[in-house]
Amino acid sequence: MRSIRAAAVGAVTVSLALAASACGGGSSSGGGSNDSPKTLTYWASNQGASIAVDKKVLQPELDKFEKQTGIKVKLEVVPWSDLLNRILTATTSGQGPDVLNIGNTWSASLQATGALLPWDAKNFGKIGGKDRFVDSALGSTGAEGKDPAAVPLYSMAYALYYNKEIFADAGISKPPATWDELIADGKKIKAKGKSPLGAEGANVSENIHHVFVFAKQHGGDFFTADGKPDFTNPKVVDAVKQYVDLMAKDKVIPTGDAEYAQNQSVSDFAKGKQAMLLWQSASANLKSQGMSESSYGIAPVPVQSGTPGTGTQINSMVAGINLAVFKNTDNLDGATKFVKFMTSDAEQNILNTAYSSIPPVKAAQGEAAFNSPSNSVLKDTLAKSAAALPQVADESQFETAVGTAVKDLFADAAAGRAVTTESVKAKLEKAQQQMPAK
């Protein structure tokens, strides 16, 4: 008779499960509606020094928007540690914000879920047209051949920050333009007791950003034209090896950096321990750590030879934040109006100044603030020598797999183990096999 009771429990469980499964995820149908035209929920990412700072920057703008349109925007600033999880659960359940910030490298992955509103010509028309935006920024908004899944909001690029005092002390008159020059300068800097360059060796995303650029500089790419992973092709292997060799062979990156994952290299630079830093739009960060703008200079990221440009002269990935709309929002018009507001020339000026990023809107780029010496390097890089990370649906797997491989290689270098072409290839081979089968 006990079995009857057990069976009953089992039956209840299964029936509930079936009921739940029938309900499934969120409404996969539904292209949005205008059921609640007076409110919007907006998930902003943490761009400032702290969540509180982000709120201080955004709230006045949201108040402005409310005054203009009568729509109240409920703001939530989501820390990066949570953002992807929250987006995931929002996508799965259909319950989420109306508008949200996404890292631009996530665009293709999120596009593949089908949860984001595609920006076709009609939608772009509502916010002033596609050609308001810089091409490179548009390149990171979704897979090629498909309508963008989001609209560029803030753009950033990598630059080489260098400590003027250390350079002067070491007798270096101008920042290095090629990697060889950087290594040579590194020797002079080490002779003076400072470390030449920093890196966040244990930060998976940072690793990807750098090896991607190196791969481009070697004329290779992590994915083939039809989107298949190709991590073991010789150019890619050489590229990854060159980056890790900065620590392993050339010794311009100290071994301690292999475990850095919390922006310690930025602190090292701000404290004057380290001569150079390859970072995205670091000015706001350095200022908060007490480093004055006059004590450092900004130069383009080195290339193999020559000057930055396109093709093998790429020296940065296109970094940035995009603004996306959830397809099943219940305030479609309001959301579009909000996007229009946030990408308007005026707002772009205000927001990008606050976050020390570059506006992806062409008209706003003309403002004086973005043509200062510090920002002009970034602006030029974005316009001329930046490339978007592969816009494939498996982008996050790619970041995880290859980023971890580079982290392990740095760990090898730090432990004194040899980093050879074979060992690099082996790690990349393993990373490639972790990618989903195509």
Partner: protein
């Protein structure tokens, strides 16, 4: 506590001193690090480690409240953990009473099921649970995701299995004569429960309450997806000190201490109940 008839030999005393000293050091060092780092300016904390801070500042203790809405997170955690604990204890008491005092069909299935839930990796049911909450929200309008209620519901269920398990053992050791006496006096079974069993089992109940509270207080994974800015708990909120640009180590330490002090204090006050309580519960 009466002394043993034969005094412990000197080898025992000597090894005790050594062992306890080492252990104290092991326990204390990180606590010292927390305290000393919380009193340093940010530059010191990111520099080379020093045993004694070069300059003391209580700035971190002031900043922590503004960098991150710590007070709100603290209150949220208290509400969530407190409510989860109370509900969990009540439900566990009822369930344990049923298992301890009655025989009925399905008793074994129930206890086995309860035990087996301890083996589930949390990851496995994070997404499904979220889905269920959303569906309930859609169907009934009761918002469970993003609300404290959903988190309370989740946490109270998390601590139920161990609580029921311990309470069963503890109730078992309360003699049935006491129940009999109460019933003879005219109480129903529930009367017996509240008049006799529960008072006799207070230490066990306190032990289980502490466990439930600690479980809810420190849970990170579910809190990170089921809360929004207003309902976020401490466990997740503390991560806000490590932002896009900076990791405010000194503030993290300060905030950790501030939120730990009441918990440790409460814990220590109840400690003696916990000790007495876990005894009989474990010896089933």
């Amino acid at each position: 506590m009466p002394k043993s008839p034969m005094a412990p030999p000197s080898s025992f005393l000597w090894s005790r001193r050594v062992f306890l000293t080492l252990l104290t050091g092991f326990v204390l060092v990180p606590v010292y690090v927390m305290v000393s780092s919380s009193l340093k300016p940010l530059a010191d904390v990111t520099g080379e480690f020093r045993w004694l801070p070069s300059g003391l500042t209580i700035r971190p203790y002031i900043d922590i409240w503004s960098t991150v809405p710590l007070a709100r997170y603290f209150v949220n955690s208290l509400i969530v953990a407190g409510a989860a604990t109370i509900c969990s204890v009540v439900i566990a008491v009822f369930a344990a009473y049923a298992v301890s005092r009655y025989s009925f069909r399905g008793k074994r299935v129930f206890t086995v099921t309860v035990l087996s839930t301890q083996m589930f990796p949390g990851i496995l049911f994070l997404l499904p649970l979220f889905l269920i909450y959303v569906n309930i929200g859609n169907a009934t309008g009761i918002a469970l995701f993003g609300s404290r209620g959903g988190l309370i519901l989740t946490y109270l269920t998390f601590s139920l299995p161990f609580s029921i398990w311990m309470l069963i053992g503890y109730f078992d050791s309360v003699p049935r004569d006491l129940d009999e006496a109460a019933l003879v006096d005219g109480c129903g079974p529930l009367g017996a429960l509240f008049r006799v069993v529960v008072p006799a089992a207070i230490p066990g109940i306190v032990a289980v309450a502490v466990y439930a509270f600690m479980t809810a207080w420190g849970e990170v994974l579910f809190a990170s997806v089921m809360t929004n800015d207003t309902t976020r708990t401490l466990a997740v909120g503390l991560q806000g000190y490590s932002t896009l640009n900076d990791v405010y180590w000194n503030q993290i330490m300060a905030a950790s201490l501030v939120v730990s002090v009441p918990v440790v204090a409460g814990f220590l006050l109840l400690q003696r109940y916990l000790v007495a309580g876990l005894t009989a519960g474990a010896v089933k």
